[in-house]
């Protein structure tokens, strides 16, 4: 079943504060991702990889086209519906951790489960399991991740993204600042998610990682308007 169905998607930025510059960044992009697939977005810098990820998550608005996630068109859905999609269906591991400063790491990771109504103890158990797998020392769990190193923050972000078993997962460079041991753990988590039937779209600059977990690559350069392919 196609969990992600994108048709003729386009994106334009209009910068009103900078002389009303209009920048077309994507035209007529179509892509289908089935359950159990892991698609790597490729293309040079500026090809629109992050832009597409953000559009799928409802963070950027589309200028045209449709983008259905498990049947709901994110382009036309109400905020209420997109919030529900994000809670139940679609997880996003970004490169940056954005949290309320004093919330303990374990609660940051458990939060997506609490939002779904999972009892606190069960949500914390799952968070503890993931943090253990990602080799984050237990003495750090009660601390806020705001002061952690880049690699530690990234592992917190990944644990949070994998806490609930989303049917759709968006991964923005999930292995970027990890050591080989943790990189292998993350690749295992991604493979396991795919095998349980998640539809995954990701940006992986790490070619080996890409080869190991992805079932397909899609070069976005073809969808950049007005430029030679």
């Amino acid at each position: 079943m196609a969990m992600i169905e994108i048709e003729n998607l386009s994106k334009t930025f209009q910068l009103h504060t900078q002389g009303s510059a209009r920048i077309d960044v994507m035209r007529d992009l179509s892509l289908r991702v089935e359950a159990g697939e892991c698609v790597a977005l490729t293309g040079r810098s500026g090809a629109g990889k992050s832009t597409l990820m953000r559009m799928i998550y409802g963070n950027y608005l589309a200028a045209g086209g449709s983008l259905r996630i498990a049947g709901t068109d994110v382009v036309t859905a109400s905020p209420h519906d997109i919030l529900r999609l994000r809670r139940e269906t679609m997880g996003y591991v970004s490169q940056f951790l954005r949290v309320i400063p004093r919330v303990p790491t374990i609660d940051v990771v458990a939060e997506p489960l609490l939002a779904l109504g999972t009892p606190t103890a069960a949500a914390r158990d799952r968070a503890a399991y993931l943090l253990t797998r990602l080799n984050l020392p237990e003495r750090l769990w009660r601390l806020s991740p705001t002061t952690f190193s880049g690699g530690e923050q990234q592992r917190v972000n990944i644990a949070r993204g994998f806490a609930h078993e989303y049917p759709v997962l968006l991964l923005d460079e999930p292995t970027a600042s990890l050591d080989p041991v943790n990189r292998a753990v993350v690749l295992d988590l991604i493979s396991a998610a795919r095998h349980r039937g998640a539809a995954i779209v990701g940006i992986f600059h790490d070619a080996e990682a890409r080869a190991q977990v992805c079932t397909r690559e899609v070069d976005l350069t073809a969808f950049v308007p007005g430029r030679a392919v």
Partner: protein, 256 residues
Amino acid sequence: MTPLLSVKTLRKTYGAHVGCTDVSFDLFPGEVMGIVGESGSGKTTLLNCLAGHLTPDRGQVIFDTRADGPRDVLAMSEPERRMLGRTDWAFVHQHARDGLRMNVSAGGNVGERLMAVGARHYGAIRAQAADWLGRVEIDAGRIDDRPTTFSGGMQQRLQIARNLVTQPRLVFMDEPTGGLDVSVQARLLDLLRGLVRDLGLSAIVVTHDLAVVRLLAHRLMVMKDGRVVETGLTDQVLDDPQHPYTQLLVSSVLQV
């Protein structure tokens, strides 16, 4: 799903001056809506119209009441509206002293709202007050102290306890973290987020602080000159703003 609050074409003028106009939106249970805009953009006027502190010239404010389902608050009798203000609604003021009784003990401040909805058993009221002081992280030993002896952050948390003790379903907040130290703000945001999640609260939060809405609000309305110029998911409005004014607002924030 029935919206908890449905606002339709609300308008409030002060003589020839427009306070807010053409405001329409739905708020669903468990959702937090942020309203941002510069001073004078009409956000506080709007909040006061919604909460029944001001009477709008036009429009409807339909609230899904527990007993009778959706009803236009503006068409209710004054006693009915006041009852709503004591039970299902709560209002957290920017200045805690506007929402607290400063010459009454902390426990009394929380208990008073319970008594207003019929609680009479002293022990039960005191126990519930103590429970709520704990939830907002005020030491139980301070229950008999007056809020005048509290710090600004503690006063704000006490105001929140006083408001939430009757288990309202909709909370109006006017700059709830304004004037507090950043460290205290973070603590308050965490508290509010937990309460929203655990109690299924809906809230409307007026603020000029974009960092606060990013962490607290699911949805965002941007106001300028009394009108809503942009609305959407909070992160979408902040990361991909469409209206020239929103773009200006977002690009004007100093990066830390």
